[in-house]
């Protein structure tokens, strides 16, 4: 079962590596952020699988923090134009 979990984790990692193409290509900034969001969710899944494979509960805490804090970057991005930007326009 451990080997199986590790295999699934490796497969998910492979989908992440392939998904990097969308970050490279864009074209919109939101596309890149979307890929990042998919990475975040996949990363949570990989962490959970590794936690089961290695039987380490602390990795589940890392997954928990991962799941929640992905919001931070996107929230900072979506904050809307700030004052300086309006001045320039």
């Amino acid at each position: 079962m451990q080997t199986f979990y590790l295999g699934v984790a490796a497969f998910l990692l492979l989908t992440m590596v392939v998904g990097l193409i969308r970050i490279f290509r864009g074209p919109r900034q939101e596309d890149r952020l979307m890929a990042m969001q998919l990475f975040g969710t996949t990363g949570v899944a990989v962490l959970l699988l590794l936690a089961a494979a290695f039987d380490a509960s602390s990795m589940r805490n890392a997954a928990l923090i991962f799941a929640v804090l992905a919001v931070l970057a996107v929230a900072a991005y979506a904050r809307g134009p700030n004052r300086r930007e309006k001045e320039i326009k």
Binding site: L13, L20, G40, G43, L69, A76, R79, G80
Partner: protein, 340 residues
């Protein structure tokens, strides 16, 4: 476990590919997104290498705080990027400003230097022995005397306490540096430029209790399992920044005295400890009596968590708010501005 090498190679490929594109491509926004992914892959590497403590910290720092800092700075430094629907056109060196571009010689010299460096590092890495014990044996020998059961916490809060202490000093210095670039003396009354998004506020209202709970949980875990002051502090900082972004109370609404107190609490607690342990008869600085160790460690960790959280959150909020608001809401604060 024959699948582990495949996982390793995929992870290393991802790390190298991401850092290559990050430094190579021309769109800064893409570089920022790649940088966040870099942090993500790194934390998977930490988990793979059985360093869950670091994975915890990296999850909060790499996926959360760094991304927020970079996006905010990009908005200020490159306001035109990301405006166009099709993404920013990559700019190459223009002919009329050719003198400003690094010439071919620059690249050749840099390549030679880096190849030499890589060669040196390679020989260094491969001359390392396959097996060694390092300090693991020493640590496990003294673990029983440290007052905690988790070796990393024992190292941080007991065996190498001066490291942790000075590290809090470095954090304070970084915050002072950021304040020095601003015309204000604290994050008080810094407001988010736009009215906060209602969905975000709703989400953060739901998440914040969980995150604060997670902070306390990580702090409590520290003495017997991966967790502790640093991880808890970073999670606290990320929570405070998230609260600020959602327009809810955060470091910006802290009373000034409370803010200042929480900034210096961690550093000064250890300073007091250092003074006490030095002045006591036949004692070594920062070596506390074994019977008190557990309580002292817990106390120091709690104080350090608050300090790390508030310092990092203030720093991030100040960078996120940018320069534009120096004359705005916080005008009252700028009376005694530091002379530059």
């Amino acid at each position: 476990m024959s699948l582990a090498p495949i996982f390793d190679i995929l992870l290393i490929t991802a790390l190298l590919l991401v850092s290559w594109r990050l430094l190579g491509n021309s769109d800064l926004f893409q570089a920022a997104v790649l940088f966040i992914s870099f942090g993500l892959f790194l934390s998977l590497a930490w988990v793979r290498l059985q360093a869950p403590d670091i994975a915890l910290a990296e999850a909060a720092v790499g996926a959360g705080l760094t991304g927020a800092l970079l996006f905010a700075t990009l908005k200020i430094v490159e306001p035109k990027q990301g405006r166009s629907k099709n993404g920013a056109q990559p700019k190459s060196c223009r002919l009329d400003r050719a003198a400003e571009c690094p010439g071919r010689m620059h690249y050749i010299l840099a390549s030679i230097f880096v190849l030499g460096l890589a060669g040196l590092l390679l020989t260094a890495v491969f001359s390392l022995p396959d097996t060694a014990n390092g300090l693991a044996g020493l640590t496990s020998g003294f673990l029983a005397q440290s007052g905690v059961e988790h070796p990393v916490t024992a190292v941080l809060l007991n065996f190498r306490l001066y490291d942790t202490w000075l590290e809090l000093g470095v954090l304070l210095l970084a915050l002072l540096g950021v304040l020095g670039t601003r015309d204000r003396l604290g994050p008080q009354n810094v407001t988010a430029a736009q009215p906060p998004n209602p969905v975000l506020s709703w989400l953060v209202r739901g998440l914040a209790p969980f995150m604060l709970l997670a902070t306390v949980y990580l702090l409590w875990l520290g003495d017997h399992a991966p967790g502790g002051a640093f991880q808890a502090g970073v999670v606290l900082a990320a929570t405070l920044v998230l609260l600020w972004l959602a327009g809810l109370g955060s470091v910006v609404r802290m009373p000034r005295h409370a803010w200042l107190f929480s900034l210096v609490a961690g550093f000064s607690a250890m300073l007091v400890l250092a003074l006490c342990t030095t002045l006591a008869p036949d004692a070594v600085a920062l070596a506390y009596p074994q019977s008190w160790a557990k309580a002292l460690i817990l106390l120091l960790e709690s104080v350090a968590t608050i300090s790390i959280g508030v310092i990092l959150a203030s720093l991030t909020v100040l960078v996120l708010a940018g320069e534009g608001e120096a004359n705005g809401a916080g005008a009252a604060e700028t009376d005694g501005k530091n002379g530059m």
